[in-house]
Subunit: 172 residues, 2 copies
DNA sequence: GTTAGGCTACTCGGATAGCCACTGTCCGAGTAAAGTGGG
DNA sequence: CCCACTTTACTCGGACAGTGGCTATCCGAGTAGCCTAAC
């Protein structure tokens, strides 16, 4: 069993996007540069997140990505399911019905006990992931940070952060 | 994320082996025929189970496989780890240390919070799998069976079960 | 008739190709912004 | 000077190759059982 590397990238990106001030945007190229990964490949996962209504995209020049929901409404499970797909890891092939002299299908109306046990375990896994939100992660990082990580983030944002509009509603 | 099909085959095989009476053996070919899968491919996973001391092999003609431990000492986690490998599904690539102007490594002595959260979830998954033993599964199957499944199993064993020795110690 | 030896056939074990999904990349559709010309 | 249009350049979106691991397979090492032949 192996999770794709895109999951880690997606979680890091969402965490960064959640730390943006106001209506800030960040382009896929900036996110890729910050994490040292391929831009084109990261785009694929950002599209998945966009399709799952986790992030929202702003097209055109000066465009980019921002969160579609507040960070406390985004769980790790949402991101994992968006990137890896909603299908469970264990797919019962019903091999109990195969082989010589198979029993009639009506004997297998109840789900396979092995499948049920594996799905229970996966449900526990998902519940654990569902209980962790992006805001929780940010709080943990902030608690363990002496200021250096935040400072590096601010320095990066000072160069790459962009606003969708001059925002005339806010007075000088 | 996707588990290999070999996991399901391995669990079914171990369950069947746990149901054998006495010192009965079953060859890989018989197990493959019973489940309707490829013999050569099933052998690979049986070798994994043998290497993990879950099943024990009897070489030579009239050889086969039998359990290496009583069924209540074998959990689903043992089988999954034997077949899929002990590595966790989530591998932290430490992309937080990458990108421009990385911080010195001493800032990252503590594990990544994202990695920690994913590993917590996987630990929950493993704990759930560890709590289910082969004897539990057999009991569940027996409880839901009206006798047909057991009868089919006995019919198959009558043809394919083999004893390693005539066992002269047991009087007639 | 008994027994030692050799042979055979069957089993598992590891090494070898094939295929699919993940990884990585590219080019095209769409759009906000800037530049430009006219009014 | 102000405005509308054109152009531009930049963004994301979906379609296209490359690679690693799972899937499927084959042949070789090893051994229990059987047959043979000598004693």
């Amino acid at each position: 069993m192996k999770l794709g590397d895109g999951v880690e990238q997606a979680i890091h990106c969402v965490t960064v996007l959640a730390s943006l001030p106001g209506d800030g945007l960040l382009s896929a190229a900036s996110l890729a540069e910050l994490h040292g990964v391929s831009t084109s490949y990261l785009l694929k996962h950002l599209q998945m997140l966009s399709g799952a209504d986790i992030v929202r995209t702003v097209p055109g020049p000066r465009g980019g990505y921002r969160l579609a929901r507040p960070p406390e409404k985004i769980s790790l499970l949402d991101i994992v399911l968006a990137v890896e797909g909603p299908e469970p890891a264990f797919r019962c092939k019903e091999i109990r019905q195969r082989g010589p002299d198979p029993l009639p299908p009506e004997y297998f109306s109840a789900p396979c006990q092995i499948n049920a046990a594996m799905l229970r375990a996966e449900r526990a896994w998902r519940n654990e992931l569902r209980s962790v939100t992006i805001s929780d992660l940010i709080a943990e990082v902030a608690a363990a940070d002496d200021g250096a990580i935040a400072a590096r983030g601010c320095a990066f944002l000072a160069t790459h952060l962009r606003q969708p509009k001059p925002d005339p509603s806010s007075k000088t």
